[in-house]
């Protein structure tokens, strides 16, 4: 773990150090890891395990008769996620830099596959690839990572090389083109939620890269114009429009589109300060909230753990985001800064959108809550992102 990549480790001088000593050394990877992020993310994943279990233990039509089906899988996903994080740290974000074109190409290929008959539709979005053994893959989650890496690579190349202070227009256009391709494909699925996340990621990346203000505001304007055009042209499916209508007025159709929002809000509202106790929520036990183990997992926390539990989840995600912001600011290479900022934009928006929709302040879209929601692809992607953050922190200069 500690070998090779750490440029500050000096070998061949002094006595050979034991494993423990090396681990506790000031310059060791273990010491330099961002523990608040690691612990918060782990706590969120474990909390998620309980919430997912609570939401699914009675749903026999989902859990195939085994109440622990989702619990075991969520734990397994978390384990794989931790391993992916470790692998990412080992490879290092800089080490991965050379592999970025390959990763990017591979992820775009995967989302293209979704559009072929290999893909399958879940909840109106054609964004999954069914794998043998009951597993399924949602490639758009990984595209979020490769867009960040790809854009960061392009935008920071000349700056990190010391050639320029800011990325030039040509580079920015290349970076935007790189993001636009997968976004267009995801739009076709259609997976509006993921596209929205990617737009925010692109914005975050551009901001952090130091690209000219004209690009940032231009992109914002283009986004607004695009939204209006999409609305006017009727590109959106009926269900997507209905979701927005239901968001604007949840009483519109309490049995139909507004049902999710209403039931979610009732579940959370009824939690009060301390909640009804884990596994004792009547809304959860009665399965009144659809998709409660994935997109609406926050309602379980809200009902059964109350304001304290829901607040804790927001707080833990806040710790992750706060530390990630610090990592972005403290690293010295633009590549690391841009990657971290992209991840911050991703996590922040996804958190705000997911929790916000359960609280009725955002329209309903199919986005998972990082670490907490059930879903392998999402879990793997966010843990890879944590790996990238750790790598950026580990590899920054000691003096920083």
């Amino acid at each position: 773990m500690t070998g090779g990549v750490n440029s500050f480790q000096v070998s061949g001088y002094g006595p050979e150090r034991s494993g423990w000593t090396r681990l506790l050394a000031r310059d060791s990877v273990a010491r330099r890891l961002d523990w608040p992020i690691l612990l918060s993310a782990t706590a969120l994943s474990l909390l998620g395990t309980l919430l997912v279990y609570s939401a699914t233990r009675n749903r026999t039509e989902l859990n195939q008769g085994d109440p622990y089906y989702f619990l075991v899988r969520h734990l397994l996903n978390t384990g794989i996620g931790l391993a992916l994080m470790a692998g990412t740290i080992w490879l290092g974000h800089r080490g991965l830099r050379t592999a970025v074109p390959v990763l990017y190409g591979f992820s775009v290929l995967l989302i293209l596959l979704v559009l072929t008959p290999l893909g399958s539709t879940i909840n109106g979005a054609h964004s999954w690839i069914k794998l043998p053994g009951g597993f399924s893959l949602q490639p758009s989650e990984f595209v979020k990572v490769t867009i960040i890496l790809g854009m960061a690579m392009l935008l920071s190349a000349r700056v990190d090389a010391g050639d320029r202070q800011y990325p030039d227009h040509r580079t920015v256009m290349q970076a935007l083109g790189l993001a636009a391709v997968p976004m267009a494909i995801v739009m076709l699925m259609p997976d509006l939620g993921s596209v929205m996340v990617m737009v925010i990621i692109v914005l975050g990346v551009l901001l952090a890269s130091g690209a000219s203000n004209r690009w940032v505001f231009g992109l914002l304007g283009a986004g607004a114009a695009g939204a209006i055009t999409v609305w006017q042209l009727g590109v959106l499916d009926d269900y997507q429009i209905a979701r927005f209508a239901a968001f604007a007025n949840p009483e519109l159709d309490p049995a139909g589109v507004g049902y999710n929002t209403n039931q979610a809000r009732i579940a959370i509202g009824s939690g009060g300060l301390t909640g009804s106790g884990l596994f004792h929520g009547s809304q959860t036990t009665g399965q009144f909230v659809p998709e409660q183990q994935t997109d609406f997992v926050f309602t379980v926390a809200g009902e059964e753990l109350g304001f304290l539990g829901g607040g804790l989840i927001i707080l833990l995600l806040g710790v992750v985001l706060w530390r990630a912001c610090r990592i972005a600011r403290e690293t010295t290479d633009l590549y690391g800064t841009v990657v971290a900022a992209g991840i911050v934009a991703w996590f922040a928006f996804q958190t705000f959108e997911n929790v916000g929709m359960t609280l009725g302040i955002m329209p309903v879209t199919g986005l998972p809550l990082p670490f907490v929601s059930y879903g392998g692809s999402s879990m793997f992607a966010v843990w890879i992102a944590v790996g990238l953050l750790q790598s950026i922190r580990v590899q920054r200069p000691m003096s920083a």
Binding site: N58, I268, F288, G310, W322, L334
Partner: protein
């Protein structure tokens, strides 16, 4: 990595990163704030909504209690009927709003499609009956008279009849035992409205969507006791309605039974006799109007004199209360409430008010004694009494010379009361009253309980009216604008009256006090008020609050809550005055105005007391009043536009007494035939299984009584008993008409 510049960071990126950090922080704070708002500030409301979400209630409706007569005969009970109902919510989901299904249903039920459609529409301000005034979420009954075959057809072809159910249900029934109808006393039910549900939500007797609520009569007065309490079982369920939690159940409390003091047999006879009297009156010629009497409505009250309990209360026209059961049809509703219906829903015994005429005279008699005039007098019963050129005549201008107050009651001498009332009016200051006017005649009327409700346990009783100075002033204030606009000095009669009223309607005039003294003018009373007063004279002076309910007995018979007689005052007269009036009223029945109706009555065994009255109503025929009592009962009958007191109501009241005491036309008492020689004391027994020990009741007690009279030994004509004297001017009752100018002409 030596190519990383140590200064590395340019400020633009740093500033933007701080902006991002602040943005992220504010987003998280927004989430936290919103979470606080939902869970802490609005938490209670959402918790309530959540419990409503996942708790399903299964309701077992309570069976409504029966209304029993004094002996336990059911006047209102329940029967199981096949009820076909339609769910509006299901019908509205269909493309044609269920028209096709309803048309098919109409064919099966043998109704027209229109009839069925009208039944399922919702009532609002603009929609006339028939319509559904219950909850739109509750199945709407279309018929409760489905045959087993029709029900089978509907149930076997359920796919053809979506939203339609055919199920046996407990339905209210008014069985009319012995043909006793008592419709207005019993009242009727109709479905509970949304407003009522909301209002009763937090009380200890909330309504169910499917509840029927008493709308009038006893059904309304005792609704809470009769309704009982529905059992509710609460299950915790999931989103598909599967039970996931334990159930908690409130048991069903069936409604209590109400025992009334009504005797179904006497009720039937009272109704029958009232109707017969009205039929007979319509055959009589009215010399004033030149047509037969219209006898458009009437009422009779039979009351226990010593308790105020009502043994029978009839109001004519009546109706069949079963018309309301299962939703009323358009035709029935028009017949009951339309302009041409004569309003059979009114209980005229407590809601009909008119001038009492001479049966009022017991009140000025007591007033005169209280004012200091000796009972024995003598007072001049002249043929007429004049005030400043205005002449008020005694009946048929007949004079009796100086007589006592008792004799004045007996012969119904008007001029005696004119004089006394006028004297008191003058003593009080005339048109310019003293500050502390005695107003004996008006004060006494109030003390007799007139001008306010008797407090009977039936809803919407009216007060009647004592036209005292205060009332005159209030009435004038309310009407003077109209009077002054329409009044003309030389116009028609009505215009002249309006003119006069405009000028001085606020003042008590001499003529007002004179007319008032004989129960004319603006005086209004109800039959129940008069029955209370005459009952009080009978029992020695205690005014009992009339009551119909006698006891409330739980469905298992274990809890019996008697409703005790309540007194609401004493008559304003001394024992001695009472006795003197009592004697005078006995004289009315033996030698006075009612004597020809009580020919052959066993006066020595059952002392009879009576007073007749014939009241003038402007623009209408005279109102007949007949007030009577024995030591056990008081009976008051009135017939609007029915002619004279004894003429129209006399035989009917006599026949009711005959039935009560088992008296035959020739005055013999057969205790075996007596229906109720003394009031019923014991309460009927309700067994623990809910059954009631019910005595047998003849198919029609009134017909039986008539049949007895057809006996060859009995006199041929029951209305004209052989022993009675023919009507003569002396013992016919008084009748008065208001005349203001010139001499008072008699109507006959």
């Amino acid at each position: 990595m030596t190519n990383i510049p140590e200064t590395g960071r340019n400020t633009r990126v740093q500033i933007r990163l701080v902006v991002i950090q602040v943005l992220v922080l504010s987003l998280l704070l927004t989430l936290g704030g919103r979470l606080w708002y939902l869970q802490i500030r609005e938490g209670a409301a959402y918790a309530k909504e959540a419990s409503g979400n996942h708790v399903q209630q299964v309701v077992q409706p309570a069976v409504r209690g029966s209304i029993l007569d004094a002996r336990g005969v059911a006047l209102a009970d329940n029967e199981t009927r096949l009820v076909v109902s339609a769910s509006r919510t299901d019908l509205l989901k269909m493309k044609d709003d269920g028209k096709e299904v309803l048309t098919k249903l109409a064919r099966v039920l043998g109704m027209t499609p229109k009839e069925v459609m009208l039944k399922v529409r919702l009532c609002d301000a603009k929609t006339p009956q028939p319509c559904w005034n219950g909850s739109p979420y509750q199945p709407i009954p279309i018929t409760d008279e489905a045959t087993a075959k029709q029900a089978l057809q509907i149930r076997e072809r359920a796919e053809d009849f979506p939203g339609i159910t055919a199920e046996p249900q407990a339905v209210r029934r008014y069985p009319s035992p012995g043909k006793a109808n008592a419709a207005q006393v019993l009242g009727y039910l109709s479905p509970v409205t949304d407003e009522e549900i909301k209002e009763a939500q937090d009380t200890d007797s909330p309504f169910l969507r499917s509840d029927q609520v008493g709308r009038s009569g006893l059904e309304r007065q005792y609704d809470k006791q009769l309704r009982g309490k529905a059992g509710v079982t609460r299950y915790e369920v999931d989103n598909l309605g599967r039970v996931i939690g334990q159930a908690e159940a409130d048991p069903t409390h069936p409604g209590d039974n109400l025992v009334t003091s009504i005797d179904a047999r006497v009720q039937r006879i009272a109704e029958y006799q009232l109707n017969e009297a009205m039929k007979e009156a319509r055959k009589q010629h009215d010399r004033n109007t030149g047509t037969n009497y219209k006898a458009d409505s009437g009422a009779v009250v039979v009351m226990e004199a010593k308790t105020g309990r009502v043994v029978a209360m009839a109001s004519n026209p009546d109706y069949d209360p079963n018309a309301w059961v299962g939703g009323i049809s358009a035709k029935d509703y028009a017949r009951l409430t339309g302009k041409s219906s004569n309003y059979p829903l009114l209980n005229r015994a407590i809601q009909g008010q008119s001038a009492p005429g001479s049966i009022f005279k017991v009140i000025p008699t007591a007033a005169a004694v209280n004012a200091g005039y000796p009972f024995d007098g003598p007072y001049e019963c002249s043929s007429s009494y004049s005030i400043g050129g205005q002449v008020f005549k005694n009946f048929e201008s007949k004079g009796y010379g100086p007589i006592s107050l008792g004799r004045a009651l007996e012969v119904s001498c008007d001029t005696v009361f004119y004089r006394l009332s006028h004297e008191e009016w003058k003593r009080d200051g005339g048109t310019k009253p003293k500050k502390k006017a005695n107003d004996w005649f008006y004060r006494t009327a109030h003390q007799f309980g007139l001008g306010k409700e008797t407090g009977i346990d039936l809803p919407n009783e009216v007060t009647g009216r004592v036209p005292d100075r205060q009332w005159k002033l209030n009435y004038w204030k309310a009407n003077k604008d109209a009077w002054c606009r329409t009044g003309k000095r030389d116009g028609s009669y009505a215009e002249r009256i309006a003119y006069e009223n405009c000028l001085e309607g606020n003042r008590m005039r001499a003529g007002d006090s004179v007319n008032y003294s004989i129960g004319q003018g603006d005086t209004l009373v109800t039959p129940i008020q008069m029955a209370t007063i005459y009952g009080a004279i009978s029992n020695g002076g205690t005014m009992y609050t009339p009551s119909v309910g006698k006891a409330v007995i739980s469905a298992d018979g274990k809890t019996v809550t008697p409703i005790k007689p309540r007194a609401h005052g004493k008559l304003p007269m001394t024992r001695k005055t009472r006795d003197e009036i009592d004697e005078a009223l006995a004289g009315v029945a033996t030698r006075g105005t009612a004597a020809w109706r009580f020919g052959g009555w066993p006066q020595d065994k059952i002392p009879m007391h009576a007073k007749t009255g014939t009241a003038e109503v402007y623009g209408k025929q005279t109102t007949s009043w007949f007030a009577t009592y024995t030591k056990d009962y008081s009976i008051v009958m009135t017939i609007s536009q029915g002619g004279t007191g004894s003429g129209a109501s006399g035989p009917a009241v006599r026949n009711i007494y005959n039935a009560l005491y088992g008296v035959s036309e020739d005055g013999e008492i057969d205790s075996k035939k007596a229906l109720l020689p003394t009031p019923q004391k014991a309460l009927p027994k309700v067994k623990t299984d809910g059954t009631i020990a019910t005595p047998k009741i003849a198919k029609d007690p009134a017909k039986d009584q008539q049949a007895k009279k057809k006996d060859p030994n009995a006199p041929a004509d029951p209305l004209q008993p052989a022993t009675s004297a023919p009507p003569s001017p002396e013992n016919r009752d008084t009748r008065r008409r208001r005349r203001r100018r010139g001499s008072r002409r008699l109507p006959t």
